[in-house]
Amino acid sequence: MPPARRNIVFWIFGGGFIGSLISFLYPVVRFLNPPAVSEASVNEVVGGKGQDLAPNAGKIVKFGTQPVLLIRLGQTEWRAFSAVCTHLSCIVQYDAPRKLIWCACHNGQYDLSGKVIAGPPPAPLKEYAVHLRGEDVVISRS
């Protein structure tokens, strides 16, 4: 076979082979990509009864699939923030003695309005609205 013809044959077979490989790999790649699960969007949750949380304490509340940190500062003062650290997604906690929000993973610290005061977190925590409905503490998207 003259070299030019051989080249063409090489490209046809080589191209076909690579094309078939891609067609085998494509479904595999798509298969491994997890399908999006639709989350029922939640707009408010009841974070428990008012008397269950002592003043100057915090707890994690399920807000749909997201953890939210509910803090009771004083008798009537409540706050709620997304509990997912903006650094690398650990779950933060309320540090009662120091009156701040603390992330144990890399020592990130936020003040009581969610602003970063120390450590590596790049952004503030998102705040949620809290109000009382009778006995219930209700957390909602603000």
Partner: protein, 367 residues
């Protein structure tokens, strides 16, 4: 020793196998294989120890598979069942974890000693590179296996580790989704990591291991440049010892030593299981990753949220990436085109690398 005269029957059996396996070539080959002897010979043992510990991992891993269940509702309980109810379950699990830790340690010592003995130089560049891949795979085993008991510490370590991956420029979020099987660490992550840990990584490791060992076999064990120079000066071949039985028996003794150490560690310090993971609980104080991830962990703690207009994590990731690349490329900057080594550069680089890893690991542990 008196020569043992095989009986005619044994001779016939041997001949039967010889006709079908042609094993005399193997015997011939082993009889002539030699290993260089010099003051650094002791360091060769760490490659062998790593291999030995890998075999232990395969065996104990298969045993654990018999009882382990990879779902968030059962994983923790099944490990608890293994360590409390199954006979010797605690021992098998403890050996698996201790051996994993020792494996990474010995692979690391092996790598550093290869750098100091300049064994990476031509024609062994691919041996070095495949070794780097094997170390990366071992770290992957460590990272994926860590999550499997589904306890708090491992849950948060996985959160942080997979979140790091999302900072890779351009494809970060895709990589994160592929790793976690979703947008957050959960049941999907556990099954995925299980799949990586017991199927994908073992397959890849076997492949690279075969390649690595095949090349070591092909080129033989390297002789350090200074030994080569000395014997060239004297006009002799560097001193050698027979692979079989001398080196083989040394190796066997070392393996028994490693096994003894492993047995002591596993029995005297059985690994704790901790608390079951809860996706709605705060990260506990004092949380830190396995010791071999401590240096990057501590570095992350130090990097502020933003550095020179870039996100801190991106800077960190870039730094780790460059450092790993620099180290992996050692055979290419550590030797001149004519094959002689830049020994001061390599030794200095290796010392600096070690110094960074050890100080940051220590700081990460203490703070």
């Amino acid at each position: 020793m008196l020569p043992i005269q095989p009986s005619p029957r044994r001779k016939a059996i041997a001949a039967w196998f010889q006709d079908r396996l042609a094993w005399d070539s193997v015997r011939e080959f082993i009889a002539h294989k030699t290993v260089p002897v010099h003051s650094g010979t002791i360091w060769y043992a760490f490659g062998g120890i790593t291999l030995f510990l890998f075999v232990i991992q395969v065996v104990t891993g298969i045993l654990l598979l018999v009882y382990y269940r990879p779902t968030p509702s059962e994983a923790y309980e099944s490990v608890q069942f293994i360590v409390t109810r199954v006979a010797f379950g605690w021992l098998i699990r403890s050996i698996h974890i201790w051996s994993a830790n020792l494996l990474i340690l010995s692979a690391f010592v092996h790598m550093i000693s290869v750098a100091f003995l300049h064994a990476y130089r031509k024609p062994r560049e691919l041996v070095w590179l495949s070794g780097i891949v094997l170390l990366a795979l071992a770290l992957g085993f460590g990272f994926s296996g860590y999550l499997l008991p589904w306890n708090t510490i491992s849950f948060f370590a996985t959160k942080v580790g997979t979140d790091m991956a999302t900072f890779i420029p351009w494809m970060g979020s895709t990589v994160g989704r592929y790793l976690r099987g979703g947008d957050a660490v959960g049941g999907a992550t556990l099954t995925r990591f299980f799949g990586f840990h017991v199927a994908v990584l073992p397959a890849l490791t076997s492949l690279f291991l075969l390649f690595h060992l095949g090349l070591v076999q092909k080129f033989g064990i390297s002789t350090p440049p200074w030994v080569e120079k000395r014997s060239r000066g004297a006009g002799t071949r560097p001193p050698q010892m027979p692979f079989f039985p001398d080196f083989f028996l040394h190796e066997l003794m070392v393996w028994y030593g490693a096994l003894a150490l492993l047995g002591i560690l596993a029995a005297v310090f059985p690994w704790e299981l901790g608390q079951k993971a809860d996706a709605f609980a705060s990260a506990p104080a004092g949380i830190r990753p396995e010791w071999y991830f401590l240096a990057p962990f501590y570095t992350l703690k130090l990097i502020p949220g933003h550095v020179a207009g870039m996100e801190g994590e991106v800077v960190g990731l870039l730094g780790f990436g460059l450092l790993a690349f620099w180290w992996a490329a050692l055979p290419f900057w550590g030797a001149r085109p004519d094959g002689t080594v830049r020994s001061k550069l390599v030794t200095g680089g290796a010392v600096a690398f070690l110094a960074y890893l050890s100080t940051f690991s220590l700081l990460g542990y203490l703070r």
